[in-house]
């Protein structure tokens, strides 16, 4: 509770990526009741940690419930956090959708759907553990199950975020891997809580290609300015290195890896089931990509387009986010030329990127507000 209160007190509540959290909360209203996440409210906090987080509130809920003088903690509230330095980074803030995935995983009890598939883990462990081991078999079994479920949780959140924001999540995740500075070997290693980075990237790329994002970007981007994003996705999808568990390649680690790989299809099925009600953004993307990108290149908020019946047509806020993320990976020389700033100057480059990030946020906000306005 202290950790949460401290962050609320420290945070400048206006300095959050407001359009993203507004979009997340409006998306939560559309979740079907069966998912357990319907009508949930997500609170976004700035944190001084250099990572995006999902706060597990089980302990807080229990303390509030047990303490007679404290009102019950609302069960439909989720808390996610972002590094305060990334307030304006539209690209990295796509990782917030991954943290939302952790909340959904918990609320929809996905864990309970995966556990039956691990029924043979006990038997597999018996073949590799012996009486001489430091911990007894029940302890090993519990530890192995927790680790595999933790990997499933991460993978579920990756695929859920990819379903929500498409290539934006791939670009953000790719950037995060680059920022971590890990080498190719380290990226193939599974850790206590996370599957290998390359494994996650491969599955996200596969998911995007399966959804048709590669073809959509290729079709909408007539100047082929995003060719490098497409080739990176295609390369990631065909990756097949030898996956390892940290530095330990014991028989136990291999059993855990083997069991995890066997439940990956179940995780994919869970994501499909939970996101079945979400409509695809691909048509909207193909329709609006050209206009949104042209506006952003001229340092303007994406224009509202006139529909066939004379009314205004607004793209989904996510489409603005995706177009912005793709543009930030491109050559920005037309913007440097327009503003008279130098691409080699770090201050100038930061200024241009900051302006683009803010314009994308404003574009998302406009779509959210104007759409509501028109409905009213």
């Amino acid at each position: 509770m202290y950790r949460l209160v401290r962050q609320v007190c420290d945070a400048d509540t206006l300095a959050i990526p407001f359009p993203i959290i507004t979009y997340i909360n409006s998306a939560m209203e559309e979740f079907p009741t069966v998912s357990g996440a319907s009508g949930a409210r997500i609170l976004l906090l700035a944190t001084d940690e250099l990572n995006f987080l999902h706060h597990k509130l089980d302990a807080v809920v229990k303390v509030c419930h047990d303490c007679p003088i404290v009102p019950d903690f609302p069960s439909n509230v989720g808390v996610i956090a972002f590094p305060y330095t990334e307030r304006n980074s539209i690209c990295l803030n796509s990782l917030l959708f991954h943290e939302l995935g952790h909340f959904i995983f918990q609320k929809a009890r996905v864990e309970e759907q995966i556990l039956p598939s691990l029924h043979d883990l006990d038997a597999k462990l018996e073949t590799v553990t012996s009486r001489g081991m430091l911990f007894g078999q029940p302890v090993m079994l519990r530890m192995a199950k927790q680790t595999i479920l933790s990997w499933c949780n991460e993978l579920f959140s990756d695929l859920f975020a990819t379903t929500l924001v498409g290539p934006s999540y791939y670009i953000a995740f790719d950037r995060l891997i680059r920022l971590s500075g890990s080498d190719q070997q380290q990226q193939t290693e599974f850790f206590g809580r996370h599957p290998a980075d390359l494994f996650r990237k491969k599955l996200v790329a596969e998911w995007l290609i399966r959804d048709g994002w590669n073809a959509a970007i290729d079709k909408a981007d007539k100047e082929k300015a995003n060719a490098h994003v497409l080739s990176s996705m295609a390369e990631a999808a065909i990756l097949d290195p030898v996956w390892t568990y940290g530095l330990d390649n014991s028989a136990l680690a291999l059993v855990m890896l083997d069991s995890f790989l066997s439940v990956v299809p179940n995780v994919k099925e869970s994501v499909k089931e939970i996101s079945a009600h979400l409509s695809s953004q691909i048509d909207d993307f193909e329709k609006h990509y050209g206009a949104i990108t042209a506006s952003l290149v001229h340092l303007c908020v994406p224009k509202v387009q006139r529909g066939e019946n004379g009314g205004d047509v607004y793209p989904s806020p996510v489409v603005v986010l995706i177009c912005g993320s793709l543009l930030l990976r491109q050559d920005l020389s037309p913007i440097f030329e327009l503003t008279g700033r130098k691409p080699d100057d770090m201050q100038d480059r930061l200024w241009v990127e900051d302006r683009l990030n803010r314009l994308v946020m404003k574009g998302m906000e406009d779509c959210l507000i104007l759409k509501k306005w028109c409905v009213q």
Binding site: H298, L299, V301, L338, T339, G340, R355, L359, M361
Partner: protein, 138 residues
């Protein structure tokens, strides 16, 4: 809803994102209904040709009573003036430290530094002059 206390100030931002043509300037003014409750919405009122961004509004409650302002309510107006012929300006250009702003931004005095240094060299502060000449700091 924004509650502005008596004599209170706030730096706000217009919702609309403007892109001015090269032959038009603008002037932001308080709407008369808002002025009648002793609130002003802008102090730096000139909008340059080619400017683009959300206008920053310096909202001041000059009265003693608190005032409630709704988010997205109409509080300012913009008057346009022609300052040349259409097509006269050669090409679009974005300049200025607050260009393409989408939120209220704090002042940036760093780009004035060279001008400030020139002015200071023209007439140094008496204490600094004494210090430079090796005199006492007092």
């Amino acid at each position: 809803m924004l509650v502005l206390p008596g004599k209170g100030v706030v730096l706000a931002s217009a919702f609309e994102y403007l892109k001015m043509p090269g032959h038009v300037t603008g002037q932001v003014m308080t709407r008369s209904s808002i002025g009648r409750i002793y609130v002003t919405t802008a102090t730096a009122t000139l909008v340059h040709p080619f400017y683009r961004g959300c206008l920053t509004l310096e909202i001041v409650n000059l009265g003693n009573a608190p005032v409630e302002l709704d988010i997205l309510s109409r509080i300012a107006q913009l008057q346009f003036h022609y300052c040349g012929e259409e097509g006269e300006a050669i090409r679009d250009a974005v300049s200025g430290r607050y260009a393409a702003a989408t939120e209220p931004e704090f002042p940036d005095f760093t780009s004035d530094e060279s001008e400030y240094l020139k002015l200071r060299a023209f007439r140094p502060h008496p204490r600094r002059r004494r210090e430079e000449q090796g005199g006492s700091k007092d």
